[in-house]
């Protein structure tokens, strides 16, 4: 954000004996739905915590734009970069070129197809799909009619969907009714769910590929007056949903963590690695790969995941 403006914060003013104030770029997907907006917000928050570095945040509509951003950011001389890839494979070559320029790379959530990141904070979309599906199986006692709400065709969506389907296929009692796309969009999810409610007289559970769509579905269900027959599980740890879980809302018995705050973790790691010019030493103990656990949020632990002032 504004912090990133290297002119206003005279770039390269020494902060300590070790040398210059490090400049770190952040490349993330554009805020085109709730979760990505959350990423942007957490990135802003995290950079504010680290004035000892210069920050530049850039968002990209698609992978083509993102690799352009990476090049352009690199061209203005940066020491490190935190990347949340729009898509893994397409961004990999560009990231590799940054690596070759000697730029410190923290890769968050979606892993590159080659081992080039100095630190990889691994998100696990398959676990997202698997755990939420397993919860459904467990809560329904392995039998029930499930409606799936997909996002937009992409690796993220495919990973979550296929992991979930694997679980459901393994459970004879579970019948997957349909798997239409809610396009990560609350309004679209609402429309799609309305159509589904008209098509299927009985739906027991809705598995949504993220919380935004789950909330859209909720509106549809309430308008159809079927709130007592259907419950849902989405994912992402959106505060509205976590709140509902916390309050024991029947429609939202649980949620899956996939917090956009993960970008903040990445930013913190980048800052702490680069700020004192002790990168070499830090690398000695810093793990190259950190897998973020995907957890089940239940009324019991919901308060730990509730961030009322987050935008997501």
């Amino acid at each position: 954000g504004q912090k990133g403006d290297p002119v206003s914060l005279g770039q390269g003013q020494p902060v300590n004996a070790q040398g210059k104030k490090p400049k770190i770029a952040i490349s993330i997907p554009a805020a085109d739905h709730g979760w990505t907006a959350g990423i942007g917000w957490w990135a802003e928050q995290a950079t504010k915590l680290h004035p000892e570095c210069d920050w530049v945040i850039e968002t990209a509509q698609n992978s083509g734009e993102q690799i352009n951003d990476l090049e352009t950011l690199a061209s203005q001389g940066i020491d490190g970069i935190v990347i949340l890839a729009t898509e893994s494979a397409p961004v990999t070559p560009a990231a590799k070129e940054l690596k070759e320029k000697g730029i410190f790379i923290v890769n968050v959530d979606r892993g590159f197809t080659e081992d080039i990141a100095d630190i990889f904070l691994e998100g696990d979309n398959s676990a997202f799909g698997r755990k939420s599906a397993e919860y459904i199986v467990q809560k329904t006692g392995g039998k029930g009619k499930v409606l799936i709400l997909r996002g937009i065709p992409s690796t993220v969506d495919t990973d979550r969907y296929e992991a979930a389907m694997a679980v459901f296929k393994g459970t004879p009692g579970i019948q997957v009714l349909d798997a239409p796309a809610g396009e990560w969009n609350r309004e679209k999810a609402l429309n799609v769910t309305q159509a589904m409610l008209a098509k299927h007289k009985q739906i027991d559970v809705i598995w949504a590929a993220d919380d935004d769509m789950a909330l859209g579905a909720e509106t549809a269900i309430k308008e159809a007056g079927r709130e007592n027959q259907i419950w849902m599980i989405g994912g992402g740890g959106m505060k509205d949903v976590v709140k509902r879980v916390m309050d024991g809302d029947k429609m939202f018995p649980a949620d899956i963590t996939y917090p956009p705050s993960m970008i903040a973790t990445g930013i913190h790691l980048a800052a702490s690695s680069l700020r004192d010019g002790k990168l070499a030493e830090i690398k000695k103990f810093m793990p190259k790969r950190i897998k973020m656990d995907v957890e089940l949020i239940t009324p019991a632990n919901a308060k730990d995941y509730y961030f009322p002032d987050s935008i997501y």
């Binding site: 805020a31 990505t36 942007g40 309004e187 159509a195 098509k199 859209g216």
Partner: protein, 320 residues
């Protein structure tokens, strides 16, 4: 497109009577497409006038955001929900009309191509909306009254649906029909309509005919913005929140598509309102069919493309 629409409808009804013959089906279809319908109707006027408005989707994001901020501010200050809701509507509509005027003036007085002006607007208005909430959501603090903007409406008497609910013609649907009436009336029964057609068909000749072409154009953009503001606040009510990055996203494209499929020519000077309405419902129907078809989401685009072409061909087969 009426024939195409009817053909598709009948085919759908035969295939899935359980869905189509449900009394809720049509009202829901219309309700789901009311917002884009409103936009498409006034986009038709803009296009007939020889213009185009790419900014309307972003504009909706911005007007709804400001409307919601006003709502929350007022409720925060202890105003009643109803008054605050009314204020939200007024703000959204007023801002829409204002931004429409900005577009129109930049085009006529600034003499910049509509495509460029509204392309800039598309980028700018969305951006300002995201600034208001860091790209995130603005949540309404009036869960009862404000949400009624999307859900509420006029109840159809004596008709009771399953789980004894009443059938409601929602406000967005009512505004949708009002828009069609207003636009149709303007276009076919007023001096303004004639002038708009003249300007779109042959601006030079319109000037020679002592028509104030700038005024005619500006009005078309103002109307566009004004009703887009109304559509936007309705959507916000439906979600009882505004996602600054999503509300209205790509509505301009959906609207233009509906207008063109409705048979209005992009080159201006010719066009009808009711065919646009059918165009909107046709696209909505296609989407609905695809969703309920259970067809893999990967294939849906391909089928959609084919059906659109078929619809146009069916139509031609009958219209001449």
């Amino acid at each position: 497109m009426l024939i195409a629409f009817i053909v598709l409808m009948i085919g759908y009804a035969i295939w899935r009577p359980d869905i189509v013959l449900n009394p809720e089906f049509l009202p829901r279809l219309v309700n789901q497409n009311a917002a884009v319908g409103i936009v498409a109707i006034f986009m038709t006027l803009v296009i007939i006038g020889g213009g185009i408005d790419l900014s309307v989707g972003s504009m909706m994001g911005l007007t709804a955001s400001l409307g919601l901020l006003a709502l929350n501010k007022l409720i925060g200050d202890g105003t009643s929900q109803s008054v605050a809701t009314l204020a939200a509507v007024v703000v959204s509509v007023a801002v829409g009309a204002f931004l429409g005027a900005v577009n129109g003036i930049a085009i006529t007085w600034g003499k910049i191509a509509p495509f460029i002006v509204t392309l800039a607007g598309m980028a700018a208005y969305r951006s300002i909306a995201t600034v208001l909430a860091a790209g995130g959501e603005i949540r309404s603090s009036s869960s009862e009254v404000f949400a009624e903007l999307g859900r509420g409406g006029l109840t159809v008497p004596f008709l009771v649906l399953e789980r004894d609910r009443a059938l409601i013609i929602t406000w967005p649907v009512i505004v949708f029909f009002l828009s069609a009436l207003v636009a149709g009336f303007l276009l076919n029964w007023t001096r303004y309509g004639r002038h708009l057609i003249a300007v779109g068909a042959n601006e030079k000749a319109a000037i020679y005919s002592a028509i104030n072409t700038s005024k005619v154009k500006v009005y078309s953009y103002v109307l566009m913005g004004l009703f887009a503001g109304a559509a936007a606040i309705g959507l916000a009510g439906r979600m009882n929140s505004v996602s600054t990055s999503q509300l209205g996203l790509y509505y301009e494209l959906d609207a233009i598509a509906a207008v063109v499929i409705g048979g209005t020519s992009m080159s201006g000077g010719r066009g009808r309102i009711w065919t646009t309405v059918i165009g909107v419902l046709l696209l909505g129907l296609i989407t609905n069919m695809l969703v309920t078809s259970g067809l893999s989401v990967y294939w849906q685009g391909a089928v959609k493309g084919v059906i659109i072409l078929l619809a146009v061909l069916i139509q031609r087969g009958h219209s001449d």
